[in-house]
Symmetry: C3
Subunit: 398 residues, 3 copies
Amino acid sequence: MDKAKIEKLVDQLGDIRTGLYQKDFLLTWRQSDADLKAVLLAAEIFEELWRAGVDARIFKGGLAISNFRDKSTRTRFSFASASSLLGLSYVDFDESKSQVAHGETVRETANMISFLTEVVGIRDDMFVGEGHEYMAEVAESVEIGYKDGLLPQRPAVVNLQCDRDHPTQSVADLLHLQKTFGGLDKLKGKKIAMTWAYSPAYAKPLSVPAAIITLMTRYGMHVSLAHPEGYDLQKECLDAAAKHAKASGGKFEVAASMEDAFKDADIVYPKSWGSMELMVQRTAALRANQADRVKDIDKQGIAKSEKFKSWECTEKTMSLTKAGKALYMHCLPADITDVNCKAGEVAKTVFERYRNPTYAEAEHKLYGMAAMILLTRFEKPAEVLRTVLRNAVPRRGF
Amino acid sequence: MDKAKIEKLVDQLGDIRTGLYQKDFLLTWRQSDADLKAVLLAAEIFEELWRAGVDARIFKGGLAISNFRDKSTRTRFSFASASSLLGLSYVDFDESKSQVAHGETVRETANMISFLTEVVGIRDDMFVGEGHEYMAEVAESVEIGYKDGLLPQRPAVVNLQCDRDHPTQSVADLLHLQKTFGGLDKLKGKKIAMTWAYSPAYAKPLSVPAAIITLMTRYGMHVSLAHPEGYDLQKECLDAAAKHAKASGGKFEVAASMEDAFKDADIVYPKSWGSMELMVQRTAALRANQADRVKDIDKQGIAKSEKFKSWECTEKTMSLTKAGKALYMHCLPADITDVNCKAGEVAKTVFERYRNPTYAEAEHKLYGMAAMILLTRFEKPAEVLRTVLRNAVPRRGF
Amino acid sequence: MDKAKIEKLVDQLGDIRTGLYQKDFLLTWRQSDADLKAVLLAAEIFEELWRAGVDARIFKGGLAISNFRDKSTRTRFSFASASSLLGLSYVDFDESKSQVAHGETVRETANMISFLTEVVGIRDDMFVGEGHEYMAEVAESVEIGYKDGLLPQRPAVVNLQCDRDHPTQSVADLLHLQKTFGGLDKLKGKKIAMTWAYSPAYAKPLSVPAAIITLMTRYGMHVSLAHPEGYDLQKECLDAAAKHAKASGGKFEVAASMEDAFKDADIVYPKSWGSMELMVQRTAALRANQADRVKDIDKQGIAKSEKFKSWECTEKTMSLTKAGKALYMHCLPADITDVNCKAGEVAKTVFERYRNPTYAEAEHKLYGMAAMILLTRFEKPAEVLRTVLRNAVPRRGF
């Protein structure tokens, strides 16, 4: 274990004043630069500690609850892993048969499951225009419950993907870029192409591209967004990206094509997402329990996307990037042409070349979650980590 | 942490001789007063310890298994929370596709899941006339398995709601009353109205009203039960309530109406339950896999209850209670008129006024469960808690 | 606690050099005698430690993941129990809607769930000719992921039943025989009848009989396999059994009838399994999503087996065994005539007489799993256990 290295990171963390204690982590653009810096540092520390084989269980009991309103494999396992790393008992709250209820009931449920709870992780990305609101309502509910003395502690609500942001993914991506390019400061001026790509699958959430353009613009990057007509992102996200680019000295643009965006890019992130217009209709149909209408909208979505099959990350498009060697990124699983579909987001040879980097990218997610839990739940996170490091209890054996 | 206060509670616990060690917790009326006193004390201690931030994990490995034969949110999370608090690994046993099998098979399953198990929590409230029997059979099975040396330890079976009692709920309710009125002795002579109330939902179990009338009569309370014709509780429960009232110097009566029961009440507990007659038919139909018959019975149940829509806890009925200020109680979730239904058990303004108290009422449940596990699994529970208190390991951080 | 006894077992374990560290446990016939000896010893040690009330949590965080591609109660709880005993967080990976995917996707999933994972337990016994291959692919995937530095540790893949072996069951069975007969060396020359038996239920996997004949032949036993025509086991298993018998000085034969196999047997293991020919067809039909064809094949399977209703372990067939007192074994649950079916694998009186021994047989499974995890995950397992024993932390209380 490189103890000196970790100590230095902990010292850096100790110097930061965040606004995260007793709060939630819902949308990166509502968090300060210091908050984000602390999350990145704490994530790095947890990753170093785990790889060094150090027991980092800072909780001795207490629950970590996930509430997945959409399917999940990797986020679910990341959250379960973060819980285990921290010493929390992971329990999944399966509300498959519940609906987004009005205030009263969300408030009650939120309190009922939270008596011993330190963190509630929520995925709610199916209902465009409502996912974030649901999380915010859960957060407000436990806030009141705690203030009223009903909850012994105030669980943090962590966004595991809503309809407009996916902060645990974008933080993992940022950690990946930081590591790949040698530091946050090295990202300044780098061009990242966040582009739509064709997929034969169902309409995927808009939260990943939104998360990328809003976060990467904070670090002086040149963010180039590209998508076919009809695949716009939400205005709130576009505005945040523009604002961040201006503040950081970076650049945010909407390019006309994948090719334009890829041109001279240092990083490319080609990924499918659905049409917001259709997704809003879909939300209404879901709410009205109109299964046929949902099916019909899905069919329209597939028909619409099929016109843009050429939006694929191929060796040819990759050759347009800086020295033809841009870093390929993806939140996984990718739709790989000739692997899990006939025509997809990315050519097999491109994906194969970047398979390991995308796996490394994914690993960061769990440490980012652990960092969010630490920072929202402990007033003096650096002190806690200092003790972990001083004790240096081996996590396997003795 | 008020260490002196907790020490005093532990001392009190140390003075009690219970019959709980190596046993189960199935029906409160089969438990001695000492058993109940010990559960209340241990629950209070666990609540104090958790709120004081003390690690109370008295197990280092071992399973806590739940078996929910009916849906559950708050009891499930209470049980998972109690497990985490105590250091047990929580595993849910999903037997959704199994049936209540004959003795042999229950015996085998009970043993097969219990090799490392300290507690099995069961909810079986759908099958009127059978729920308790199933739990008793599981208990007998692990008793024999343990005596025969097949199980390294004898797991306790804890009733998480059967067809005739709901002890973890009624113990939570009693803790709530104890706290609200300043002590068990303060409950003597207080009037509690346990009344039926209208709900548009499915036929709910009879176990909550049964649990309340059988338990509260033990503490010298004046228990007034009221329900429309056809909503009688089981004779075993009525008899136990009458017997307890006599022994404690309390009173047990069946009032003619909600209004009669509410009159001068210190506490009201208006809650919907199903018609036993229909529920017995429903059990038979379920057993015979007659889905249509079940549907038909449910329709009859709703039709039957609709005649009693006036059984609602409103500001008007509340005004009949002592000084118009009776404590409103509910096991949650309540059917609140104009909130989650058009006409329900309670008026919105009444519920709003008592929302926080009902949440506080609910919190006690998990500590009651932890208490039952402690007392059934440890021969000298006070000594164990004394060590927890002496060590005073923080449950968060170091 | 008989500390001296456990110390002696640990010393014996310390003398063995296994090839298990950083590997998997998939098929017993690919493991060396030393590997198996170590698993038996470590299992015995864990069982002694648990029964002596010693905390054996050698992990402090990290995941144990199960992936059940077929229903399971006792193996699931054994795995959850082993995880709890060792201090791992148990998470079930429910991939019910996934298919056996091509290489790329298995590789990705395997890595995505394994960042903090120490063991992945898989049951895949439905797809004859593919179950083992799937496990091997998961194992290869995490091997590459670890070597490439993507996984901080290399999780072991443990076979919780594939299409051709069921090592955690056969190891439990071997532990049972070792205990019953007083040592592995006492098994030499003992006759075990592994026979088909009639069951009215669905076609059960071939892995238990295969596991028994391949493992028991290694210990000089006389293994007599018997089944009706059309119920052959896979050639790989038959060949391994013959080879083992030759090497160990034991005997492997295929008898003509249950009666022939039972004759003078010291142990009998009568158990239903399906017709391989039909199961291969069934696999193809499952792959092609031909539900009707699957149903038809199942019907054929039942029709085929009904011709062999006389294959039942009765008092009469038991009387053919050595002194009429052979040890009856079963992996449970058994189909018991007049208990859970009209005509099944075993007569009620026979099963009743051996109920407790079969339960004891089942208990060993979880300790065998714990042993496999220890040996695959620790380079010096005996040292780790020595520390556990020296610390002797009580697993309940203090």
